[in-house]
Symmetry: C2
Subunit: 185 residues, 2 copies
């Protein structure tokens, strides 16, 4: 199989190759915009893989870690209903029913009926769940520190500020005349 006519085998394009390829196929593309957007996408995919590996070492899935984070964010006493959890994580309530089942079985949370309103259910973080969250948080924060290692303090500040401005644009998209960012939620 050493023929010279053999295909060399395709290779995964680098970011620069990707932008160049899109420009060949689609003339109207602004390379500066594309660089920002493509880098964001790639970065996030890599980071999610990395987070997944880290929390797997603690015996929990990325999905479970998201629930732990959401409960901690709610603040003491670390309680939320399944519906609220589902809304914040972008899932259907049905999916959350099963996720909470699993996590309750693993002792990460408890699930109880609200005595004041028996239609509601309260999902509450256990001490074990809180400990898992803390361990995951330590690993994540070490990883994130590594990720930003090459950036100076000023650069980190600038990056954070620019990202926050993009986020504001996407989170408070108001109905401007011809705006296309009006229907994100």
């Amino acid at each position: 199989m050493s023929e010279s006519t053999e295909e060399p085998g395709p290779h995964e394009p680098s970011l620069d190759e990707q932008i160049a390829a899109y420009q060949r196929e689609f003339r109207d593309l602004d390379p500066q915009v594309e660089q920002v957007v493509s880098a964001l996408g790639r970065l996030n995919r890599r980071m999610n893989v990395a987070y997944g590996r880290q929390v797997a070492a603690l015996g929990i899935s990325n999905a479970e870690w998201e629930v732990l984070k959401t409960l901690v964010l709610a603040g003491a006493p670390y309680r939320l209903g399944p519906g609220e959890l589902a809304k914040r994580l972008g899932l259907t309530p049905a999916a959350m029913t099963h996720r909470v089942d699993r996590m309750a079985g693993e002792g990460l949370v408890t699930r109880d009926r609200d005595e004041n309103n028996r239609v509601r259910v309260i999902v509450e973080l256990t001490d074990e769940g809180r400990t898992k969250w803390l361990e995951a948080m330590r690993m994540a924060s070490d990883f994130e520190e590594d990720l930003l290692q090459d950036l100076s303090g000023d650069e980190r500040g600038v990056l954070g500020e620019l990202l926050v401005r993009l986020l504001r644009r996407v989170e408070h998209a108001q109905p401007d005349a011809g705006g296309r960012l009006t229907d994100l939620d």
Copy 2:
């Protein structure tokens, strides 16, 4: 339901509230790092929702759009094997078998055995698939332009450059002595 003892109902924390909450629960957190990382995460989630709605208007799913993009990136004649597609999209080959089935049924791609090596399968973009890609690309690029609207040209450049540096760190993570970024792939 107008009792003053009634819970006001929890609300989704803003980015600043989120960082403040994490700092209360985890003293070692660097707020500058957390701002960058959390903004990245939120931004990407919002963007994926937005992309999903846009391509849905064209009658394709986000998953199918990813395949179209990957084939276009490969360049003319827009061919790749299912295994290669799976690798680039971070899926198992099994998942790609079914995805290609669907897309071939919809006329977006063709699937044929390679005559030179009958173990291989060639997935090739159809004209209809290429047209769908172009329509999706136009919508995406309008959206992305809107997203970056508030940033000046210089700011876009700075942002792109900083993101590329993060990406480099995560993509070419080499085995440094105590580095934790060594096992990403």
